[in-house]
Subunit: 204 residues, 4 copies
Amino acid sequence: MYSPTIQKLIDLFSKFPTVGPRTASRFVFYLMGKNKEEIEEIIKSISILKEKVKICSSCFNTYEGPGLLCNICSDPRRDKSLLCVIANETDLEAIEKIKKYKGFYFILGGTVSTLKKTDIEKLRFRELGQRIKSRPEIQEIILAFNSTSEGEATALYLERILKSFDATQDNPVRITRLGRGLPLGGELEYADEETLSSAFEGRK
Amino acid sequence: MYSPTIQKLIDLFSKFPTVGPRTASRFVFYLMGKNKEEIEEIIKSISILKEKVKICSSCFNTYEGPGLLCNICSDPRRDKSLLCVIANETDLEAIEKIKKYKGFYFILGGTVSTLKKTDIEKLRFRELGQRIKSRPEIQEIILAFNSTSEGEATALYLERILKSFDATQDNPVRITRLGRGLPLGGELEYADEETLSSAFEGRK
Amino acid sequence: MYSPTIQKLIDLFSKFPTVGPRTASRFVFYLMGKNKEEIEEIIKSISILKEKVKICSSCFNTYEGPGLLCNICSDPRRDKSLLCVIANETDLEAIEKIKKYKGFYFILGGTVSTLKKTDIEKLRFRELGQRIKSRPEIQEIILAFNSTSEGEATALYLERILKSFDATQDNPVRITRLGRGLPLGGELEYADEETLSSAFEGRK
Amino acid sequence: MYSPTIQKLIDLFSKFPTVGPRTASRFVFYLMGKNKEEIEEIIKSISILKEKVKICSSCFNTYEGPGLLCNICSDPRRDKSLLCVIANETDLEAIEKIKKYKGFYFILGGTVSTLKKTDIEKLRFRELGQRIKSRPEIQEIILAFNSTSEGEATALYLERILKSFDATQDNPVRITRLGRGLPLGGELEYADEETLSSAFEGRK
């Protein structure tokens, strides 16, 4: 029942992650209430996004500025022996926030829910192989995926191809995964058996 | 830690209703993954929004097309004796969906949480007064606000000014509010006392 | 893995409303931590429950003390023209708390989810019929059920039998239901269509 | 408004863990609906609980049958070198369910939220000290508490007293805690920094 221009924008916003038609319509009325300058600011910010922001040729992280590498890949203080493979940019942000990890990253571009060829081809498995081949200094590859079934499937698939690939190399690389266990606030009584099992195995 | 262009857009999206920084960053990476044509489509839809979409001079609903009135205000089949005052466009959509109400609307532009002069001046109380004055055919004004404290405060304030205004008119107008009661799925045991009280009073 | 005596009590507590095995085991360990006197107090309170507490012969509410009627049914100040039919004692408590209703009650004993004969026979439809027949002073019967599908089915079934029964009486009785509408805190935008529709119809 | 006998039982049930007055009243009406035999069964199960169920003199777990030890403490196949200190019986059940841990337990009886003397004296710290002293074969003490602030405080306090105690022994005992990390289903983006940090440290 909305007018065509409004409905069109509702449809576009509805495709944004986590947004449904009701939230999308609130976005549109939010924009209706903004003045010309504010609308211009939003439009400009969107339009320069893909001009200004570049994708790092090494880790596929976003960056701005000169050169072909992002801030992390061009930082000489980072530890060249560590490579952390992650699904998305937001995972990189989450890991950088804890300020514990000093190695490099590789953004796979997502996770595979099934192992269909079309799904696998969307992700950067090929580029990851090239990256590892060209960096003999890598000693550990950390597969840092969500503990969800998609994250698990992706890690398992990666482990398999990295091991077969590793067998042909001179220096074997250690492949690790994030530790499982009780999260902050977790209670034994309500923990699932797999998590509690991991917590026992990982005790220290 | 995001690059300035990304951070700027995250900040802008964070001001959208219901959006926090985490969701805003997901919006930005969603846009990063779109191609030039898709970005253009979004930009164009935003930029023509305020050009194409007009605000009805009578009810302040949005519309497109010729004339000064929206589809509802220019519809001769609507019932001229009824005026439904609502806070926002989304409330109008919700009411139109039930297909029960055949009168006209007036969009106040929000609700008042306090009765501060600055809050009150942001809403269209003055325009509502003019509308009512110019339409002697109105017999019932329905104050259709949320049952929240803001909605209640706004309805109370409106009732007060409409009554004092009405005293100076020839034809007294009936002022009504939406019925309170148990919603679909509501249980007596978990209903608050006010709702249950209304449900008893409104039995039929 | 619990010992048989503990497991037996867990099984019994698991049948209590809203209690699952995990909560039931917490109940048992709570009791294990109580001393002899505290256990005795609980046991005694349970054992005298059905001795001391009687069921009102008129409305099926619980009461203590002399006579065959509960405090409400024996209260001469209550309004004899009103009868409120409810599913359970907890609904009676909820209604009494609002202090608006001054008539009598009839506790049906539950709701019917299907209209199976075995389901219907568990409830006090027969006793309700006798009650109404013996009280010609009743002018309104309020069917105060939850707005759930079970509550609706029960109200519909009751309406049907009460109407056919009413046709044979000299004084027709008014049969009403609780008002539907927005509950306290309800918002138009999130209300289901049926609730919003009722709120419009029930406006005042 | 409930009768005294009902209210008394509601009050008693309201003290059960997780139970509020509303649930307690549902328990009472549930019991009202049971027949004499069913009530007897519940009463009997409660009354024999503390007669039949014994508390293990070694680990403070519950058990039935002859002897002074529970099924676990009297099982010769369990690993004498491991002692797992837990807060409650329900934690023991949770750990036994994963079938990974083959050592012994010690139930502390709760956690300390503050380190007040009165709080500490309610727990079995003294008995734990005696247990460890009398079992020189213990090589590892696992502090298996919830990752909550209470669990953390209790583990910290225990670590401190166990270490000072350990310094006086010939064979130093290893004191461990459950591994922290992402739980099953955990996502990097939504993990708190402490959990993600632990997940990185505990990678393998």
